[in-house]
């Protein structure tokens, strides 16, 4: 038998449309399949997302870096013992482990304006990468504006609502949690920020505001910090968060 010809993937002649979208268009094909290069690129993106879901907070480095803010730092854990349980039981990720709750009760009411919480969520990678550079802009701005910031807390296996219990135990007027968002194929390290006025156990999502996709390729640090400061000021002034507090920052500027 003669040697078989190497089969080349068919290219799509509308390649120029890629300029208009990040969607995976004009991939070409091998038979009816995606060409190997595109297939492996997809696999790599999924691998990054999966690794992000199973990533852990880099506690040694994080605690060392947080020292620069000269605030007490508490390391806490939710009721979810591991990732498997965390993924299947969101209710457990929303509550503090009793030892963690006791630690905060000991500190007692701080009467702070803002309690900042760093939570792994669905991508500890996002917190490992973006939390400190963001706080380097946000914390000095908060202090300059005269806000009292409570002890920083870092929580493992945590969902957004864990900040309700933390804010309540610390007696803060507002809780602000920075949490790793569910990774997308093109965004394994998006950080989300959730704001809750008068945080307490049982608060539902209608009572929160959110800033999403904080990362250099999405919402850059400086802009994210500016938005955070705006929402904190407005929430404390109007004594509320949630659907009634719209992000009108851009409207005010223009």
């Amino acid at each position: 038998m003669d040697k078989l010809e190497v089969s080349k993937a068919t290219a799509d002649p509308w390649d120029s449309l890629k300029a208009f979208t990040a969607a995976r268009i004009a991939l070409g094909r091998a038979g009816t399949s995606v060409p190997l290069k595109a297939s492996l690129a997809f696999k790599m993106a999924h691998a990054h997302a999966r690794d992000a879901v199973f990533s852990s907070l880099n506690l040694d480095l994080l605690l060392e870096e947080l020292e620069q803010f000269q605030l007490p730092v508490h390391l806490l854990h939710s009721l979810a013992t591991d990732r498997q349980e965390y993924l299947q039981r969101p209710d457990l990720g929303r509550r503090l482990h009793s030892a963690s709750a006791a630690l905060l009760s000991e500190e007692g009411q701080t009467f702070a304006d803002v309690a900042i919480v760093l939570a792994d969520g669905l991508s500890a990678t996002a917190v490992n990468t973006h939390a400190v550079p963001l706080l380097q802009i946000l914390l000095p701005a908060l202090q300059k504006a005269g806000f009292k910031v409570a002890s920083l807390t870092v929580v493992e296996q945590a969902r957004v609502a864990v900040a309700d219990e933390i804010g309540e135990l610390l007696g803060a007027k507002l809780s602000l949690v920075f949490i790793g968002e569910r990774p997308g194929l093109s965004s394994p390290d998006s950080l989300g920020a959730y704001f809750t006025y008068a945080p307490k156990l049982g608060t539902t999502d209608e009572g929160r505001n959110c800033i999403s996709n904080i990362r250099p390729e999405g919402l850059p640090y400086a802009f994210a910090a500016e938005k955070c400061l705006y929402l904190i000021k407005e929430a404390l002034r109007r004594k509320l968060t949630g659907v009634a507090l719209k992000d009108e920052m851009n409207l005010l500027e223009s």
Binding site: F20, T21, A23, R24, H46, Q88
Partner: protein, 459 residues
């Protein structure tokens, strides 16, 4: 009513029908989270054995959610057709399973049955069936719907072209739209999910899609998947709405959490029908559902998630939809943990929808925090192709960059059509041939350098 079954001197007690159904349901994380799941493998099978002996008549007497409390229950019981039920009124759930698998249950018989079935009967029988049985019975069903083309004929598989963009950018959406059409996608609908529910954005996208469809005479329909109230507002202003979309669930409280009621759905259907835009039929509604939505809205009343899902199909069938699909793996691992659970749930949803007479499609999908990958989706795609699923999604490279999840790609549709000998909707197939996109055998032709469809985006 009380149910029980004894295994080796231990008698399992099930205090009511909803408990029995929940305990009989194959394991999934959502039922664990809801606290309604069987406590052991043995209890689950004991519940299935007890369920098999329950007469179908019991389902008409014992409402899972009280009639007075829930308009979905009222819909189910008020619209139940005694005459269609008469053929099977002497059956137990187990009898129904055996009959469905028998040769007597042919396509014509299965088309007469739906008005006599309640979603709870269908959910119950589903829990007694293996995956291959869910496929074998669904394959015998044929549910055909029409608007500008004919969807659901045997031997056909349609696709919803889903050209989403994270900022609803018209040119970004058009780029994915061209890509999809040139890959032969879009006969079920060209349907865009938007990042915002702004009526102005929805309207401008509807007009863009309508212009493209008109200009190139594409025999299909378009939809921008906004809330039903937004559609009503646009319908009143005569925007080019082909189909009205809504996410729905299986309890009144779930629907309230979506901001809809049965009355609103009826109003929307009438307003959409009034535009009279269909050319070969008037199925004008598009519904999405998914296991876990009731639990997520804290609106499940202790009913297991698969049964809640089947009840959503009773809502859907009232409005004679063109398209219904479950978004099976979208809701996350706290409801369906891994590939095995997602695959099982998708086969259940497709089977239950078809048995209730719905034009069932499927968003074969997963999120990145689920224990699943493309291989699981390939398996499910192949299984649903065999089961005769009406349509699947077509997303560029399977990666939805707006909703951040993975669905099926244009390539996936080509694969399943090729290996199973399936073809697009007949009107759309003819158009694809005329456009030199596919040949008469359904194979994709080498693309022309400047196909006229690329003119959609002038650049």
């Amino acid at each position: 009513m009380h149910y029980s079954h004894t295994v080796r001197h231990h008698t399992y007690q099930f205090k009511d029908l909803k408990t029995l159904l929940a305990k009989a349901s194959p394991l999934r994380s959502g039922d664990v989270l809801a606290g309604v799941v069987a406590q052991s493998y043995e209890e689950r099978v004991a519940a299935q054995i007890a369920l098999a002996d329950v007469p179908l008549k019991v389902f008409l007497k014992e409402a899972l959610i009280p009639y007075e409390q829930d308009e979905v229950t009222r819909l189910i019981l008020d619209e139940h057709d005694e005459a269609a039920f008469a053929y099977i009124s002497h059956f137990t759930v187990g009898d129904l399973r055996d009959w469905l698998l028998s040769d007597a249950a042919d396509t014509a018989a299965l088309q007469r049955l739906p008005p006599g079935l309640t979603p709870e009967m269908v959910a119950a029988v589903c829990k007694l069936m293996r995956n291959q049985e869910l496929i074998a019975v669904a394959r015998k069903c044929e549910v055909v719907t029409r608007f500008r083309n004919t969807i659901g004929l045997k031997g056909r598989l349609s696709t919803r072209l889903q050209p989403n963009h994270p900022t609803d950018d018209g040119r970004g959406i058009a780029a994915s739209l061209i890509d999809g059409l040139l890959y032969g996608s879009g006969d079920a609908v060209i349907g865009i999910n938007t990042a915002t529910d702004s009526p102005a954005v929805v309207r401008s996208l509807l007009e863009m899609l309508d212009n493209v469809r008109e200009k190139f005479s594409i025999p299909t329909q378009s939809c921008v998947l906004c809330h039903v109230t937004t559609s009503l507002e646009l319908l009143n202003k005569s925007a080019p709405v082909d189909l009205t979309f809504q996410s729905i669930g299986g309890t009144e409280k779930t629907n309230t959490s979506f901001g809809v009621s049965l009355a609103m759905l009826e109003e929307a259907r009438q307003a959409t029908l009034a535009l009279n835009r269909g050319t070969v039929g008037n199925n004008v509604m598009y519904f999405e559902t998914g296991q876990g939505s009731s639990l997520s809205a804290n609106a499940h009343h202790g009913v297991d998630q698969q049964t809640c899902e089947a009840r959503a199909y009773a809502v859907a069938r009232k409005y004679k939809p063109l398209l219904v699909n479950s978004v099976v793996g979208f809701i996350g691992p706290e409801y369906l943990y891994d590939g095995k659970q997602i695959i099982r749930a998708a086969l259940e949803d497709h089977f239950c929808g078809k048995l209730l007479g719905l034009p069932m499609g499927m968003d074969i999908c997963y999120t990145n925090h689920a224990e699943a990958d493309q291989d699981d989706m390939d398996n499910l795609l192949t299984l649903l192709g065999v089961a005769g699923c009406n349509y699947i999604m077509g997303v560029p490279g399977a990666d939805d960059i707006m909703l951040n999840y993975q669905s099926t790609s244009f390539h996936d549709a080509l694969y399943v059509r090729q290996v199973l000998g399936l073809r697009p909707a007949p009107e759309f197939e003819k158009w694809l041939v005329e456009q030199d996109i596919i040949n008469e055998q359904g194979q994709l032709l080498p693309a022309e350098k400047r196909h006229q469809l690329t003119q959609i985006l002038k650049h």
